[in-house]
């Protein structure tokens, strides 16, 4: 059984590998935004006192470029493949395979993320390192912690994207949820600005009560070593909780969706 999911993950890896040109184009876009965002955030730091909300320039540079790298790795933008398949009814073919549909798709997405971390993540970070002074982790443990953090972020992102698509079981099209997701994941996730620019209480509330910071903000904070090792581990714990919660929600929604499909005929 495990072998099935490993095979599905490898398939996800290879499928993603075929989209070479799209990945290259995306890296160019990531780089454009990287330059823009750095300029904006550096202006903030310059106008402030070299350190703003716990971020100095190198930290912000890493935040921006690793952030651009994460966009493609955890995949913020939700493709509507599943929603389209639900609408056309092709999703029944998933039901005819002896594997759980949620785990099947998660496996594929993890495979994709694995490949993306070599392209979509490394690309922008390399460009950033070329033109800016990025902060390199001072603790070796950070690398491991960051890796785990990205894994958690991918799972949370997968779950949210899955839910956005699964809305198609009940709604005409998944566009509403998709719009909401794109808005919230960017704004409340730390993509537009580090969440710590907001009042402390607000930032903490967002981190704990919503899944969005677990996708961008927390992994980046782990990477720039915001706080001690204990702080980094705490962030990981928040992410892990959200990963578990979101997956449970996905499985519940999947069961409900399947029942609707099977009982009502879709």
């Amino acid at each position: 059984m495990v072998r099935a999911y490993v095979a599905l993950a490898i398939a996800g890896f290879r499928r993603y590998a075929t989209y070479r040109q799209a990945a290259a184009a995306a890296i160019v876009t990531n780089s454009i935004f990287g330059f823009l965002r750095c300029a904006i955030l550096f202006a903030v730091v310059d106008a402030g006192s070299r350190v703003v909300a716990g971020y100095d320039e190198p930290r912000l540079a890493t935040f921006v470029w690793a952030g651009q790298g994460l966009i493609g790795t955890v995949l913020i933008w939700a493709p509507t493949d599943l929603a389209d398949r639900i609408r056309t009814g092709d999703v029944v073919m998933d039901l005819l395979r002896p594997v759980d549909p949620v785990w099947q798709q998660l496996a594929g997405d993890l495979g994709r993320a694995a490949h993306a971390s070599f392209t979509r993540f490394v690309g922008p970070v390399a460009v950033g390192a070329l033109f800016f002074h990025l902060r390199v982790p001072s603790r070796p443990a950070t690398y491991v912690l960051f890796g785990c953090s990205v894994l958690m972020a991918t799972i949370v992102s997968f779950g949210c994207r899955f839910l956005v698509n699964a809305a198609a079981y009940w709604l005409l099209d998944a566009r509403g949820p998709q719009v909401a997701w794109t808005l919230l994941s960017g704004f409340l996730g730390g993509l537009y600005f580090p969440l710590w620019f907001l009042p402390d209480a607000a930032a903490r509330a967002l981190i704990v009560a919503t899944p969005f910071p677990s996708i961008i903000q927390l992994p980046l904070d782990v990477l720039v070593e915001r706080g001690t090792v204990a702080d980094q581990v705490a962030m990981l714990a928040v992410q892990a909780s959200w990963a578990a919660a979101i997956l449970a929600l996905c499985r519940w929604v999947q069961r409900r969706g399947e029942r609707k499909l099977v009982v009502q005929g879709g």
């Binding site: 904006i40 106008a47 909300a53 719009v179 704004f187 907001l198 009042p199």
Partner: protein, 268 residues
Amino acid sequence: MGSAGFTAYRHIVAAQVRGQAQYRASFAIDLVGSVMFGVIDLASVLVLFRVVPALGGFALGEVFLMATLAGVAFALADLAVGNVERLRVYVRSGLLDAVLVRPLGVLTQLTAIDVAPRRVGRVVFGVAVLALAASRAGVAVTPLSLALLLVTPIAGAVIFSGIFVATATVAFWWIESGEIANGLTYGGLNFAQYPITIYGAILRRLFAYAIGFAFVAYYPALALLDRADPLGGPAWLGYAPPAAAALVAGGAALVWRIGVRHYRSTGS
């Protein structure tokens, strides 16, 4: 386009509006969504001022004015030609051939057929906040400044529209270029929201002058605020947006024509 073309355009848009209004719930969501994008864009600018008093030498009210000018221009362009990026889909699926056969301009069809009335929401919102920003920034209420407030977003919209069309045209040569187009269109919006003093020389030369994004908000804002340009630009630059818009539109039209000709001759 000619009067016949314009009539056809009007009819197509009307039919599109009727069709889309049927999906009322989706429409409402789209409307709210598009307004929310505008809200979030502006909120992102404002949040920065929570931690610093000024950006690039400009205070909150001034930057807010620039951001809203850029926002309205972008929303207008998005409404008018936003769906031209679907060109990529049309080229890949071969649907473009059906479009080419009809006796209407290709660009007209592409923009009219996929027009999205929901984007009006963002325009209305943008105009409202622009008015707010102008009054908060203490813009003098003179005929000149009012004219500037009216003309600037339209000129800015033309500039954005030109970029929309030009970047979409690249799909004729490279299908996957859509991603990069986003970098220049949404990136352009991002760029124009802030005073160009914060950008490095290369970035400035490319985005502000070469593509012309500085004329969407920065220079007009300087004129409206009656402020001297820290970069030393002359005051009349604030009144140059229409000229810049004309240049960009001309360039985009040229690129478009070359693209269509290329497609016709190679058969994709």
